[in-house]
């Protein structure tokens, strides 16, 4: 479905060039929810921008359903970390969600039903006519999520979307994402620096090394499909997976591609 092959990104040139990403290869299957974790400054955002078609990689390729990505693909939506800065302050919540659909040349009726369904799904049906700055941080991020869903993407990219909201809101939003992923059958790539979040959300956790970045490990999350903030997080298997990812990230910090320990 989504193939990242030998991806490399070098910024600048000459003496001051910085290799942010060295050699990344992984594949996401259709309908998969994968989380990407790595130590801070490991080039997560660079990777996301290359996958989203916002940055041209120095070497390697990204392809979506067999087609190489050279610019932002039509069936991909992105939710950024900086929710406040990715919403149009001069448009209402409805206007923000509807804007990409207008560009898709959808008719008024179709647009309305997509917008209403998306706002309903994120629990913002009553705030459609408000402006983003009238809402709390968590609600603003819900608007960005609604906009992504209404776009009907096959792939949803999320770049540390909950890094800037409080813990309670974060837990709610995590469950929201699990719910939306099941309901709308999307392939989701969720980038985070939070190990617990990665294990709680994903079917699979990709651990990145520190910069210059490679894939350190690829861990399958064999937790039950129905997850719950209380019981899942106190599950022994959850704790074990969390320790495993944590160890991998410590290894990643100490040096790229260190040998991985045996799975517990």
């Amino acid at each position: 479905m989504l193939d990242v092959n030998g991806l490399q990104k070098i910024y600048g040139g000459g003496e001051r060039e910085v290799e942010a990403v060295r050699d990344l290869t992984f594949r996401l299957e259709e309908g998969e929810l994968s989380c990407l974790v790595g130590p801070s400054g490991c080039g997560k955002t660079t990777l996301l921008k290359c996958v989203a078609g916002l940055l041209r990689p120095t070497a390697g390729s990204v392809s979506l359903a067999g087609h190489a990505i050279s610019g932002p693909p039509r069936d991909m939506a992105v939710v950024f970390q900086e929710y406040g800065r990715s919403l149009f302050s001069w448009l209402t919540v409805r206007g923000n969600v509807e804007l990409p659909l207008k560009e898709k040349k959808l008719g008024k009726g179709r647009r309305d039903s997509l917008v209403n369904e998306a706002l309903q799904a994120v629990g913002l049906a009553d705030s459609a006519e408000s402006y983003p700055w009238q809402l709390s941080g968590g609600m603003q991020q819900r608007v960005a999520i609604a906009r992504a869903i209404a776009y009907e993407p096959r792939v949803l990219l999320m770049d540390e979307p909950f890094a800037a909201v409080d813990a309670q809101t974060r837990a709610d939003l995590e469950d929201l994402i699990r719910g939306l992923w099941k309901r709308f059958a999307m392939t989701v790539l969720f980038i985070t620096h939070d190990i617990d979040e990665a294990v709680y959300l994903g079917q699979r956790v990709l651990v990145l090394s520190s910069s210059p970045t490679v894939v350190q490990d690829d861990i399958a999350v064999d937790l039950p499909d129905e997850r719950d903030q209380l019981s899942t997080r106190s599950d022994q298997r959850f704790t074990a997976l969390r320790s495993l990812v944590y160890t991998e990230i410590q290894n990643a910090k100490n040096g790229p591609a260190a040998p991985s320990p045996a799975a517990p």
Partner: protein
Amino acid sequence: MTMANTVARAARRGGVRVAEILLLPVVLIALWWGYSVVSASYYTATPGEIATTFGEVWFSERFMVDVVPSVGLLLAGFALAAVLGTTLGVVLGLSPNTRATVEPVLEFFRAIPPPVLVPLLMLLIGVNTPMKVAVIVSGCVWPVLLNTIEGVRGVDPVLADTCRCYGVRGRRWLTTLVLRSASPQIMAGLRQALAIAIILMVISEMFATTSGLGFSIVQFQRSFAIPEMWSGIVLLGLLGVTLSIMFAWVERRVLRWYHGVRAAARDE
């Protein structure tokens, strides 16, 4: 609380506000009155004289001959400068290469005080309305242009990436992303331009013309029609205040979101 109570309270608040606004003007007029009576100078007309003359001079055919064309001139020059400044500002703001080439030349032209262009434009265009509009535009275009460039350069990169991801491009990209993002700066530029437009309107009418507000005031001064001259100055002041109130009204509507964002940021 009864309805009458609320109304009374609102009226009292409104009354206080009116008193606040009027207090200083009343004091100043009183001082002026005292001074003009005591000094008995030929050149200082009393406020009473000015008020009487004001009605006689401006509520006559002069209103159509001198005031309306001048205001039309001002608005035409301002509108043209607004369109020109915004368009050029968007082009330069979006293209760093063009900006690097054009900016030194712009700095040079901006440094020329527009009034010195009047004799030149008289030679090039002639003594006519287009010349006067050109003078106003030559001064007004700069604040609009420079503020628009800043505003366009300041478009949030995250918002720009959002537009790219969702395929927002072309006209919708220009109007919804670029112009709206830059609108606070564009409005600031327009506000400065409006003040400059009034000054240049008067100046453009002081040279070799036979009608208009600027011409009338100079004419009154030369013929020692002192109260008339004062009344012209008062009229210019009132015109300036009226235009700036109208501008503030438009700005409040256009930038409602901007004030909302700032208020929300203050509350956090």
